[in-house]
Amino acid sequence: MIELRDIHKYFGSVKALQGVSLKVEAGSIHGVVGENGAGKSTLMKVLTGYIARTSGSLLFSGKEVEIQTPRDGTSLGIGMLYQEPLDFLQLSVLDNFMAGAADFQRKKMKKKLLALANRFGFTLHPDSPLYWLTVGERQQLELLRLIHANIRVLILDEPTTGISGEQQDLLFGALRSLKEEGCAIILVSHKLAEIEALCDRLTILRRGKTVAEQEQPFDRNSVLTAMFGEFSDQPPPDQNSTVITAGKKKKLVSFHEVCSSTGRSGLDAVSTDLYEGEVVGLAGLDGSGQSVFLKICADLLPHTGSVERFNHQHSTSSDQGDKQAVFLPADRLSEGLIASLSIREHLLLADNTPLFMLPATGREEAQQAIETYNILGQPGTAAGDLSGGNQQRLLLSLIPAKARLILMENPTRGLDVRSGNWTWHHLREQLPEDGAIIFASPDLEEIMEQASRVIVFFDGRIILDRPVDETDLDEISRAITGQVNSECQIEK
């Protein structure tokens, strides 16, 4: 159906792609995997025409075609779900569905949108503004738009990042039915489990080159070796060993009847205690209250009810409390880092900023942080120029040494296995004995692996709260969708 031959793409002196070939048949799902920075997203953008390739050829149904702009791509029926949805936040759902489409009859398009949504089991309200939707719902809308445009080649770049388990099931169902209809589907992902569940063939990229191809059934070990090269210099994924879970100790944060109206569902009279030494994983559908809970822990959102942190009723944001609690947001570049500031400037800003800054001020400390935290960059590299994994490492390096309460949203979002393991390893090493980590993650396996206790949110309430070793994936996934057995009600 579609074939890429010997694709090269250079950004200035950076060689992003150095001779990649890929062939995808109609009616099949083809997986593309690789480490962060292996060139997966670049390759896909070349295929849609979003970026122009440096050299190489593209064949569509056996004929050579010219794809230099997305216009060429869409006219051939190539469509892509980008990792960050490329849509229009302030326009309505229907406007987003229609933007760029040939047809402009609102009533007819509205009917078509609802019919398509119905067919795949999506719930979308055409007149809502897009900013009311979760990332998962925006992705569903984009998918429907592409299906309506009669695409024959569908590319998905990390489609399950930031969406809920239920949305993922709906998405996979939709992909399988598109495959039945003869669509050629390319799935780019970090997650081997979903590649194994969906794909017929698999291409592995490493440093801008095709290193291996496999047919179903895949051999997990050889896939991993091809992705990362040799596995040796990396610590094995930590278990709960370093954190003491036995015997609940002193309270660190205590919520009593806390309500908030921010976020999608807000918080509805949440009461719970978080203890020293705990690693708590927060689960739930997108926007069920986890993120609001975290931000209230960090004292970032207004709320009613009482929140006690570090054993004193927090009144005005005391400087002491601020230095002890640290919040790492999911959207690193917009909430955590300042894109145009360098590594050195970030460290200076985080610590006691001197009144005057000479070019050498803080350079040594920055160099030291770069070494300790294994950041790929120079003291003068701007945060925006770092890759996702290195941005996360920079954020970690900014955590003050005396931080006792580390609050994180999707700590390993967009990181490959190796960077993710590194992050967790480091967090556990740094955490003082009287500290705690609270994190929200859409990845239940991460919660099972890393947390000592899991709290599941549903519609702004805590629906399940247990130590991890007393529950299982099945129970958690049911709780996420609001189903709990009568005996595992909320502990108070």
Binding site: P70, L91, A99
Partner: protein, 318 residues
């Protein structure tokens, strides 16, 4: 002084007409994500070229055409540098403001205080005889009628046509448009030029109808900045921008009237009154955001709009 409501309303409609063209032109440009700060200079320059072309030909129509072309020419400079070369639209716009102003005074010297053609009131037959409505809406020059028509036309275009949707999409997220096969920079260029033409017509509306003639000062200085403020005040929505323009017209006219009532107050107070009032309105909108009063906060929500998310940022292809 005898003031009747129809006379007052007709006065507002006429004095606001150039502002309607300028503010709606800028709204069109900004809706696509481009900010054209050169408005004040463009209005002055096109007022001059419009008057010059009308004087040379003896008819107002070539004047309006020349003014529109002037507005487009300025917008073209901005488009090339601000959209295609990706340089700061704010910096280019500012430079163009002052360049155009000085150019207008310099090139227009020979037309200063010379008699020239102007567009006279053209009452619409029958309709202008209607009580109340007649004198307010149907006893104006053609350019004022055109300003009435422009408001619904632009609103319909932006919110009910395919091209209007593309325009709004480009202003929101040019990368998203590029991925869909739309050419964001071409779209932005088209609407920057179209917006520039409207601003140019606004300039000619001054020199050929509302404040006829050319000289230094012409009397339209400062209006460009008002138009820019009105676009923000109106939340980038054509109907609200137009409403803002009429409110500004009302303030200007009432300034003249109040001056007659309070002759002891210095006249400057009434001339500058609209500006602090506009700032005051923005402050009220801000403080009403968190009010418990439902009705009031809803009204205020209607008045405040969000800027196009990509405003002032040009799309660069990778």
């Amino acid at each position: 002084m005898d003031v009747s409501i129809p006379v007052l309303a007709a006065g507002i409609a006429a004095t606001s007409a150039p502002l309607i063209f300028a503010a709606l032109g800028e709204a069109l440009t900004e809706k696509g994500g481009v900010i054209n700060l050169s408005l004040d200079g463009t209005i002055l320059l096109s007022a001059m070229t419009g008057f010059a072309a009308a004087s040379a030909t003896g008819s107002v129509w070539p004047g309006f055409a020349a003014a529109a072309a002037t507005g487009m020419a300025v917008a073209l400079v901005l488009s090339v540098i601000g959209i295609w070369l990706g340089q700061s639209q704010v910096a280019v716009g500012f430079a163009l403001t002052f360049l155009c102003r000085d150019l207008a005074y310099f090139l227009g010297t020979s037309y200063s205080r010379t008699p020239g053609p102007q567009q006279l009131a053209a009452p619409v037959p029958l309709l202008s005889k209607l009580p109340l409505v007649g004198p307010i809406f149907f006893n104006h020059s053609l350019i004022v009628y055109a300003s009435f028509l422009l408001i619904p036309l632009l609103w319909y275009f932006m919110y009910h046509t395919r091209q209007g949707l593309i325009l709004r999409s480009v202003g929101e997220n040019p990368e998203g448009c590029w991925a869909r096969g739309i050419r964001p920079r071409l779209t932005q260029t088209i609407y920057t030029l179209a917006g520039g033409a409207l601003v140019g017509i606004g300039g000619a509306a001054f020199s050929l109808a509302i404040k006829p003639g050319w000289g230094r000062p012409q009397g339209c200085e400062g209006i460009g900045w008002i138009a820019l403020a009105l676009v923000i005040f109106g939340g980038w929505h054509p109907l609200r921008v137009a409403l803002g323009a009429y409110i500004f017209g009302l303030l200007q006219i009432s300034g003249i009237l109040l001056q007659d009532i309070f002759p002891t107050l210095p006249s400057q107070i009434f001339q500058v009154a609209p500006f602090p009032l506009m700032i005051f309105t923005l402050v009220i909108i801000h403080f009403s955001r968190n009010r418990q009063d439902r009705w009031f906060s809803r009204l205020m929500a209607l008045l405040s709009g969000s800027p196009p998310r990509a405003l002032g940022r040009s799309h660069q292809q990778e």
